[in-house]
Symmetry: C2
Subunit: 192 residues, 2 copies
């Protein structure tokens, strides 16, 4: 029970709110924005659809509340520079494996303009800074970060969204062993 951190008193309805958010995350991740209906989410949360509106205003508000992403990216300056790539891949893999939100965001980002913008924001606010810490030439930071995103989001897409069998079958160890060096190269290798 958290009471003094930001919201003064725990409301009696918090469990319902959380149930709604959990159900919303699941359905957005599974179905995307349009096909995840408020009625279905409410049903999952064992609640009336109108409660969703009461608490979150409208569908967009629900999505905004349900999908807030903190990649918790590690501080890459803390380890040897040539380990950054594998470390990033490892972190992403674990993050995606047990986090509906990321799949939801990717699915929605692929169809919904607002979703795409949100992903751009995450890239700008979370990926770029971390890249900046590792990459020598500041001018190359956006390019290199974009290349990294290319590879990591491609992994997420094929493995968690499209579910290409061959991509799903990869053992996490294999993924790190293969993608780690590739990402490392995007981060620190001299421009070709």
């Amino acid at each position: 029970m958290t009471e003094s951190s930001s919201s003064p008193q725990p409301r009696r309805s918090d469990t319902t709110r959380n149930a709604i958010l959990a159900a919303a995350r699941e359905r957005f991740a599974a179905d995307g924005y349009e096909r995840a209906t408020i009625r279905a989410i409410a049903k999952d949360a064992r609640i009336d659809p109108s409660m969703v509106m009461r608490y979150y205003g409208n569908k967009e508000g629900l999505f905004a509340a349900a999908v807030s992403v903190d990649l918790e990216l590690p501080d890459l300056t803390a380890l040897p520079r040539q380990d950054a790539g594998p470390a990033l891949v490892t972190h992403f893999l674990r993050m995606w494996e047990d986090n509906d939100v990321l799949t939801a965001l990717l699915r929605v980002g692929a169809t919904n303009e607002a979703g795409a913008e949100r992903m751009q924001g995450i890239f700008r606010d979370q990926v770029l800074p971390v890249t900046r810490a590792v990459c020598p030439d500041p001018e190359q930071v956006p390019t290199r970060a974009a290349l990294v995103a290319t590879q990591l989001l491609g992994l997420a897409l094929t493995r968690y969204v499209l579910r290409l069998p061959a991509a799903v079958a990869l053992h996490p160890r294999e993924v790190v062993a293969w993608l780690g060096p590739a990402v490392q190269r995007y981060l620190t290798a001299p421009s070709p």
Copy 2:
């Protein structure tokens, strides 16, 4: 009753059919499956929505007819083995730049189960064989093809769907220079 199916006479309605398909491709690419409405497609084609049903049965049939993908992958055995990666990247880049269908398919694949299955089919029927021609160990073919897909689809996702500014800004030459070696490594480098 009518003519044979192999090379029938050009029907009077072919221009309409093509207009519908073109409009469908555009809208599916721009909006994804659910938000691309038959009414909107019909309007673009300057036609009544019911014509779409007459010619393609239902929305799913329209999608199936509109999105038929031939990647026209080059024969990688025709060039030096170490050029396969850059050649693949170059080909994909050109393919995506002027082909709505691919973006449409990716968008739909991200939300729609049927779309995802279609992408799996393309991977199986078109990407796997080409990889097989280049990759020495047959047992590794699925893995390596999946890795390639990871990188190439990641590029398409960030550049054409999410439109991350830094990914859009990359000059095609840069893309090839950076991704070419990465793809090459996935194809032919010894397993790590």
